[in-house]
């Protein structure tokens, strides 16, 4: 943890020329500095550092939150990976989450890039369109889930009605295992506004001269897109892919609302666990079965996964920068 106050050391900034330092100002600065960060630091220790370390410890225990945790070593981890009687849906939840990530992330990015390209191509009304396309982003997960449950309603839902216009038969979107992931991914793409804004910034940063040079060289719109725009947006895309994956792996609130029903706080993983996202699986073990140890172990597996992805991103960005 943090080193204790070393009041005897001189202040880090030497006094500037022409500015006479009052005696004792450095020491007083140390104190003020500590006082100013104190509330945030206390918060950090109680609600971030301690919980993170405690979660690691609990992951090696069996614990129901009420009695004392019992140390079981690596058993939670080995059981999760190898005991499919004790944790029958662990691998299924990983599969669901990876599938969702694999569908939702590309779909979101394509939608975002498409919207950004279109908005970038117009002047009049671009603010209005940007605003309208951004609306889904600020909507509460609980509302998003509720609204889309109604839209996907097999009998009276708007989605089936619209698809009916082009001759696609009615589907029971949220109750057909094969359709659950596409239905969820579509909601994710519907909420692509953040990526859209970031792509727009990326497009704006492409120098006009490069575009003009491509036009002079006789590149058509398609060629310009693949030979100029896509390569120039590569860093943006990379950033969005990484953050998109990290977010998709943690999808929870939406599936929780979509698949909760039939009374107080009961939630399922959808038909045949087809919507059992990894974090939903953790939630069920922690807060329904009171298996805190196993839940912490699962959440640590996720943490390691996310740290690896973040680390790879860091390496790549450094490479890109040099």
């Amino acid at each position: 943890m943090a080193s204790p106050v070393v009041a005897q050391r001189p202040a880090e900034t030497p006094p500037g020329p022409g500015r006479r330092r009052r005696p004792g100002v450095g020491r007083r600065d140390h104190l003020i500095g500590w006082l100013l960060i104190a509330p945030a630091l206390v918060y950090f220790i109680i609600f971030l550092l301690y919980p993170a370390l405690a979660a690691l410890y609990y992951s090696f225990t069996e614990w129901d939150l009420h009695s004392a945790p019992i140390w079981v070593g690596l058993q939670n981890y080995t059981d999760l990976f190898f005991d499919d009687v004790k944790y029958p849906h662990f691998w299924k939840s990983i599969q669901v989450t990876l599938q969702y990530t694999l569908v939702a992330v590309p779909l979101t990015l394509i939608a975002a890039l498409g919207q950004a390209l279109l908005i970038n191509a117009i002047r009049r009304g671009s603010n209005l369109f940007r605003l309208l396309l951004f609306l889904p982003v600020v909507t509460a997960e609980a509302a998003v889930g509720a609204i889309w449950r109604w839209l996907y309603d097999p009998q009276y839902g708007l989605v089936n009605a619209v698809l009916g216009l082009v001759g696609i038969p009615r589907q029971n979107w949220l109750n057909t295992p094969e359709l659950v992931i596409p239905a969820l991914a579509f909601i994710a793409a519907w909420q692509c506004g953040i990526s859209m804004i970031i792509y727009l910034a990326g497009l704006k940063s492409i120098p006009e001269s490069i575009r003009e040079a491509a036009v002079i060289d006789g590149a058509g719109p398609v060629q310009r897109f693949f030979k100029v725009i896509v390569p120039m947006l590569r860093p943006t895309t990379f950033y969005l892919v990484v953050t998109g994956i990290i977010a998709a792996l943690q999808v929870f609130g939406l599936v929780y609302v979509i698949f909760s029903g039939g009374g107080n706080r009961s939630v399922t993983g959808g038909p045949e666990q087809s919507g059992l996202a990894y974090v939903l699986h953790i939630y069920l073990y922690a807060f329904r079965y009171n298996a805190m140890g196993a839940a912490c172990a699962m959440s640590f597996i996720l943490l390691v996964f996310i740290m690896i992805i973040t680390f790879v991103q860091f390496k790549f960005m450094k490479q890109e920068a040099s």
């Binding site: 509460a140 509720a146 609204i147 804004i197 959440s299 996310i306």
Partner: protein
């Protein structure tokens, strides 16, 4: 029409279609929320609140009345209002103070603490939930509004954003103020904060939206319906009244409309702010 407009026509058509996909769910939500129960379930989707049999204009506010009073979304609405109104300013103050120290007041160990805090941002929320729940129980704030406020009362991301902004402010201003005899705190209040309105606005608005919308933490820390926040009450409503779309859509509108108003007022700041900070605390 000149040539340029003609060439842009397909672009506008595509954008209008995309904007419809984006907006129609909300329109449909509002439309459903003003309909009487029987009028909701029609074979051909009907946007306007018309009587199913006679086709007459037949809107109602009854769904809002029902969810506001009987389903408890009224209580939840006010819970959300006051919790957000207490939480956001306190959080802003704690974060701004820390950010200022991290940006401008050198003291030993400062940068190590800052890096440690940043590293903490990598930990996924779900990992923290179980121990945080335990902490709230130990602190005696489980199942109370303080159980929501305390675990959210600072944000490393906001500290980071504000610190980056504070560092761009010219040091000379602070030095001038110091020569005039101002202390650290006076400089913070009278020099730094007034110059930092853009970043303060972004952090305030994104915090407001995040905490107004947050479902996961209230779901875990609250048990008594009297303390439910709006998203949690809405989730419960969607679960218990799952066959009655008109109630659920009225509840969803209660949660959505305030945020939409905020977005309309502060659109530019919000879009930039969220794009570069994400909507996570």
């Amino acid at each position: 029409m000149n040539q340029k407009t003609v060439r842009r026509l397909p672009i506008y058509i595509a954008l209008i279609l995309l904007a419809l996909v984006s907006v129609v769910p909300f329109v449909w939500m509002l439309a459903t929320s003003f309909k009487n129960g029987p009028d909701v379930y029609t074979q051909v989707p009907q946007l306007l609140p018309l009587d199913k049999k006679t086709g007459e204009w037949n809107p109602t506010l009854g769904n809002y009345e029902y969810v506001f009073t009987i389903s408890g979304l009224g209580t939840a609405f006010w819970n959300s209002v006051w919790i957000t109104c207490v939480l956001v300013p306190v959080k802003l103050l704690i974060d701004a103070l820390a950010a200022y120290a991290f940006a401008r007041i050198p003291f030993p160990g400062r940068d190590k603490i800052f890096v440690l805090m940043l590293a903490g941002m990598m930990v996924p929320t779900i990992t923290l939930l179980v121990p945080r729940l335990h902490v709230t129980q130990v602190l005696g704030v489980y199942d109370s509004p303080w159980g929501i406020i305390l675990p959210n009362v600072a944000s490393v991301l906001d500290i980071f954003l504000m610190r980056q902004f504070f560092r761009t402010l010219p040091v000379e201003l602070e030095e001038a103020a110091r020569i005039d005899g101002a202390g650290r705190m006076a400089i913070f209040w009278r020099v730094i904060l007034p110059l930092s309105k853009p970043v303060l606005a972004v952090v305030t608005i994104t915090s407001f939206i995040f905490h107004w919308n947050d479902l996961v933490w209230p779901l875990i820390v609250l048990n008594s319906p009297d303390f439910y926040t709006l998203p949690l009450a809405l989730q419960q409503l969607a679960s218990t009244e799952s066959g009655r779309a008109y109630y659920i859509m009225a509840g969803a509108a209660l949660a959505v409309v305030p945020v939409m108003i905020v977005l309309l007022i502060f659109q530019r700041r919000i879009m930039q702010g969220i794009a570069f900070s994400g909507l996570k605390s």
